[in-house]
């Protein structure tokens, strides 16, 4: 899609030039030279070549804070995604983080490898090859290897989900052959790789006979909910977020949370909050933990701030500053624990915390739930 088509598709010519986007942008606050308004303006003024070569194209966190507030509802993140596709076609790429290792994994998954990555799931509990409920694990087995040094064990989240589902009497399907959901490839401007990954996943899930696919990862959930139907039409199964699923299980009495005393603050992931509009179920679960106290950060729900970097690209001093500010905000609530709901938020915020002397605990919501069950 060229710039002109992207302008038409997202109707950026409705821009009122009000600057609410730039005023809301977490990147612009730190890097004043970055301006969503200016990017829209340049696209309208036919300065496409300049725009595509500009590194600012990859500085956008695609967090959607601008879109949330735009009076003419211009979907700036999707507009950026389309511009990135065009830039990538011309051979312009973002600066990949972690030596591009994670992108390499994603690309290799389209090359006919037979993955072996479910040993941990069998250790955690009961899983099946076929069944009604498919648990889409996502990239956590790989994160676990790459980010162990940060003290973040991403696999804990996956293990917790299996334990919680098992406790509620559900044996989920977990598959070795599951590929990356394609989220990062999509936002790195590579829709062809996304389509290959997504096609593999759809084939796999359909063959499993699952009626519901449960996601704990917000990116996987949002990508399946939003982009898969865009590219593939009706999926033939229901896409459910784990916290929505859990909220219902708690309401039905299938799951009881006993313990959980402590004060918590909750960090809304961009994909789960602003993009998928899931704000309430994680909060409701937190409040359900006996003895828990939820202290909101100043910027919460649709005003929440991104964890600083996305798509394993362009982690910069700007990302670090956003993360440090976010951690200070969490600390200022007086809560002992910052609760995350996305493996990437957990990794990014833990990375920033490692360099600070702030005393704060970062925990994934699934961990709190599992702990609350363990003492039941």
């Amino acid at each position: 899609m060229n710039i002109e088509e992207a302008v038409k598709l997202h109707r950026t010519y409705y821009c009122l030039d009000c600057g609410v986007c730039t005023g809301s942008c977490p990147v612009s606050r730190v890097l004043p030279s970055f301006s969503p308004r200016l990017i829209v303006e340049k696209a309208l003024l036919d300065l496409g070549d300049e725009l595509l070569k500009d590194k600012d194209l990859w500085s956008c966190l695609t967090c959607g804070r601008c879109f949330e507030r735009c009076p003419t509802k211009i979907n700036f993140p999707e507009f950026m995604r389309n511009l990135r596709e065009e830039a990538a076609k011309r051979g312009i790429e973002p600066t990949l983080t972690h030596h591009g290792m994670l992108q390499t994994v994603m690309e290799l998954q389209t090359q006919g490898v037979k993955q072996k990555k479910t040993d941990w799931a069998r250790e955690a509990g009961k899983i099946a090859d076929k069944g009604d409920v498919f648990f889409f694990v996502g990239c956590m087995p790989y994160f676990n290897v790459v980010f162990r040094d940060l003290g973040v064990d991403s696999l804990t989240i996956g293990k917790n989900v299996i334990r919680i589902l098992n406790a509620a009497g559900i044996t989920p399907v977990v598959s070795d052959e599951e590929a990356c959901c394609g989220h990062d490839m999509l936002w790195n401007g590579k829709p062809e790789v996304f389509k290959k990954l997504a096609g593999k996943n759809l084939e796999l899930i359909r063959a499993s006979g699952a009626k519901q696919v449960v996601f704990s990862c917000p990116e996987g959930y949002y990508t399946f909910k939003n982009h898969y139907p865009q590219y593939f039409g009706d999926l033939g199964f229901q896409v459910v977020h784990f916290y929505d699923y859990l909220e219902k299980m708690i309401a039905d009495g299938a799951l009881k949370l006993q313990n959980g005393a402590g004060s918590y603050t909750y960090h809304d992931p961009c994909r789960l909050g602003r993009m998928a509009k899931i704000y309430d179920s994680p909060r409701s679960i937190l409040k359900n933990l006996a003895g828990s106290e939820l202290k909101e950060m100043e910027r919460n729900r649709e005003n929440a701030v991104c964890c600083g970097t996305t798509g394993w690209a362009n982690c910069s001093s700007c990302s670090k500053q956003i993360q440090v500010e976010r951690l200070k905000e969490a600390k200022a609530t007086g809560a002992q624990t910052l609760v995350t709901a996305c493996p990437k938020c957990q990794i990014h915020l833990s990375c920033a915390l490692a360099n600070l002397d702030t005393k704060l605990e970062i925990k994934d919501l699934t961990t709190l739930i599992t702990e609350s069950m363990a003492t039941a």
């Binding site: 994994v105 290799l108 006919g112 490898v113 993955q115 072996k116 087995p141």
Partner: protein
């Protein structure tokens, strides 16, 4: 770490070898390469790109 990643991807980590050889150790270099080549021959074709 790379070995662990390869194992998860289902690529036998025996296909990866890392050794430091000084320029004065010609014999050792030949030995290592020969052993590794034989190992790869034994393992046969890699799964990569066979059934994309």
């Amino acid at each position: 770490m790379t070995r662990e990643m390869l194992d998860l991807l289902g690529i036998d980590s025996k296909r990866l070898e890392l050794q430091w050889v000084s320029s004065a150790e010609g014999t050792r270099f030949a030995e290592i390469v020969t052993t590794f080549t034989n190992r790869i021959k034994e393992l046969g074709k890699s799964p990569l790109g066979v059934a994309a």
